[in-house]
Assembly symmetry: C2
Homo-oligomer: 423 residues x 2
Amino acid sequence: VRVTFAELSQTELSDLVASLRAAYGELSARGLKLDLTRGKPSAEQLDLSTALLDLPGSADYRAADGSDVRNYGGLRGLPELREIFAPLLGLKPESMIAVGNSSLELMHDYLMHAVLFGVPGGSAPWRDVAFLCPVPGYDRHFSICAKLGMEMIPVPMTADGPDLAEVERLAADPKVKGIWCVPKYSNPTGEIYSPETVRRLAEMPTGAEDFRIFWDNAYAVHHLTDEQQEIEDIIGAAQAAGHPDRPIVFGSASKITLAGSGIAFLGASDANLDWLVGHLSKRTIGPDKINHLRHVRFLESPQGVLDLMAKHRALLRPKFDLVGQALTDELADTGVATWTTPRGGYFVTLTVRPGCASRIVELAGQAGIALTPAGAPFPHGKDPQDNVIRIAPTFPPLTELADAMAALVLCVKLASAEQLLAA
Amino acid sequence: VRVTFAELSQTELSDLVASLRAAYGELSARGLKLDLTRGKPSAEQLDLSTALLDLPGSADYRAADGSDVRNYGGLRGLPELREIFAPLLGLKPESMIAVGNSSLELMHDYLMHAVLFGVPGGSAPWRDVAFLCPVPGYDRHFSICAKLGMEMIPVPMTADGPDLAEVERLAADPKVKGIWCVPKYSNPTGEIYSPETVRRLAEMPTGAEDFRIFWDNAYAVHHLTDEQQEIEDIIGAAQAAGHPDRPIVFGSASKITLAGSGIAFLGASDANLDWLVGHLSKRTIGPDKINHLRHVRFLESPQGVLDLMAKHRALLRPKFDLVGQALTDELADTGVATWTTPRGGYFVTLTVRPGCASRIVELAGQAGIALTPAGAPFPHGKDPQDNVIRIAPTFPPLTELADAMAALVLCVKLASAEQLLAA
């Protein structure tokens, strides 16, 4: 018989809180020190790319075109590396660059140059502008906007991507210059944008003639099921709709090979690429092409990337299963929480009773389990409902993850029961 | 008997021009394709760091503090790498960061953030500001200022560094926010800043309370003689003078290990570092720490760097000797050119008759010898006297360098004689 917390009498609730507090006391006494905060790969995942630590090898420093990758130059990155990642990111090798070790840098630098100089198709630098922020979303996207003084306008997520009616309504304002999108296995809620979402984002009229879709395809090949989810081609859709400069596609090898030593990618129209590379040419003489060659030798082909990702999946799937099982076992009957079962990506999102998320994160923290701060997936770190918690299960070993989840569900129950009792 | 071109009669000049034109015709017919444009290391220099291509090795991914360098994090760079480079750059490991593969990036990003946000000790973003540019100087420094709309005010170089009376006079203007300096083996003219220069730059009153010295110590260990030239400690001098935030010191391993895959360094006061790292923390989750560990394993110690630089010197010295000899043999008696004999760094500067530099570069280009564009060492690429040519002898093999120098001196003589004849 399922009895939710809300159906309990005051006496039953009071007893429940007492027993949960006792359990929480025991938990705190264990002196745990566990971390579910960030989407970091585990040591076992990094071990999958151990071969990179010996590559390219001392006799190997020639690119396919014969050039010496040890020397300066090559602002767009090694063509043969772009050829490997292009099909995986829905790009063409000649319409993308491979630069640096972090796609976040490319998003940041695109926006910083937009603020200072304006972008192709626009008539002025981006001052006093706004960005649409589907929520919950990725905190580091929002931090860039906050840094640059851009207004952030939250847009609700649906199962198919951001609420399109709302996006179309808001984008009519010329002040609104763009939207953040994580179109596949969205961070943190795992949605996959539907074909209609992609098409309408590409086609919609916008008030700003220089509107941009920041298409952070961070989890393009980061599947957690046998079924490789695909999304529509935003570049092609935007070209077909007469908005070729609208999408800026980002990708990264950081969660494919080595987190701090991967490669970042940006794909866009020629106008965007020429504009960005022109600006970056004042900043650098070129990327670390040896790391490009290293990745080419290791990954070899798009299929090589997919084979590697299958190994990641074998390591990650048990962790996500454990999280789902722990939540189901302990919370399914309580009526105080729901959660996502992502088909890819790096996160599980736990939705709790409004007003409880920050208390749960606080309780967990006091018991030694670090969680992403409540509110992080919202602009300025403010969750209006205070009910979203992002769980990052990838980094800790399974045994630690089990401990952390047991602690987390206890904190969820305690905070929820306390809230109901006080109501 | 030394007879300069200027002492020749019109007839003699006319004969000279005719014979030089004939020689130039033969030169052009050879169809050479040589490049003296940029300060790139040669393949032999890159070979000195071949071991890096196998490092760190598959079992080696732990930093000295036990952390896994393969994962995210560590915004300031690996401490043990900073310890190796700190003494060579006159810095303390805790007062520097190691980030990216290009010190130019760090200069660019410091200035870009200054323009958008202002710097510690200042009261406003850097809009409508000016920078002092000792000339001849480094074209890429000037390109950053040009990109950001900063006014560039040329300051003459002396044998001891920039003309200090002029610097002090100009720095009294609050609009002047900084100065570019390459204090050792200056690019392109090779000067070494005297102790008095360093002290006065650190001590001088400035109109701007947030004045910065961009101290690009690009050639800190790039000696061409047995005598390792040292410069005074700008950080200590500025601290002693009560201007701790004034100097920003840059360094790079690009011309020590591998040009495109080195490490960049920035050293400054805590206020500057905290400000910059705070801004960069919105841009990246950390540098490529595997490349840091790779460099630690390869270089081992400050002495390891110096030992490596001695091998560079053994390769570079014959090239600089060849350039000096070619210029002496062919131009010493002509009175139409003077040149530098640098004790370190990457360039020789050739000073020709006013109005001749661009013609010489043009003649050389038409004969297949690419030279840095005349004017490049000046703000906006405009040499007011049109008499400075930067020679970069490091990249070509000796035989090609000999061919290129023979061609260059011929072009110098031809342009000079033609100018004198037309006068």
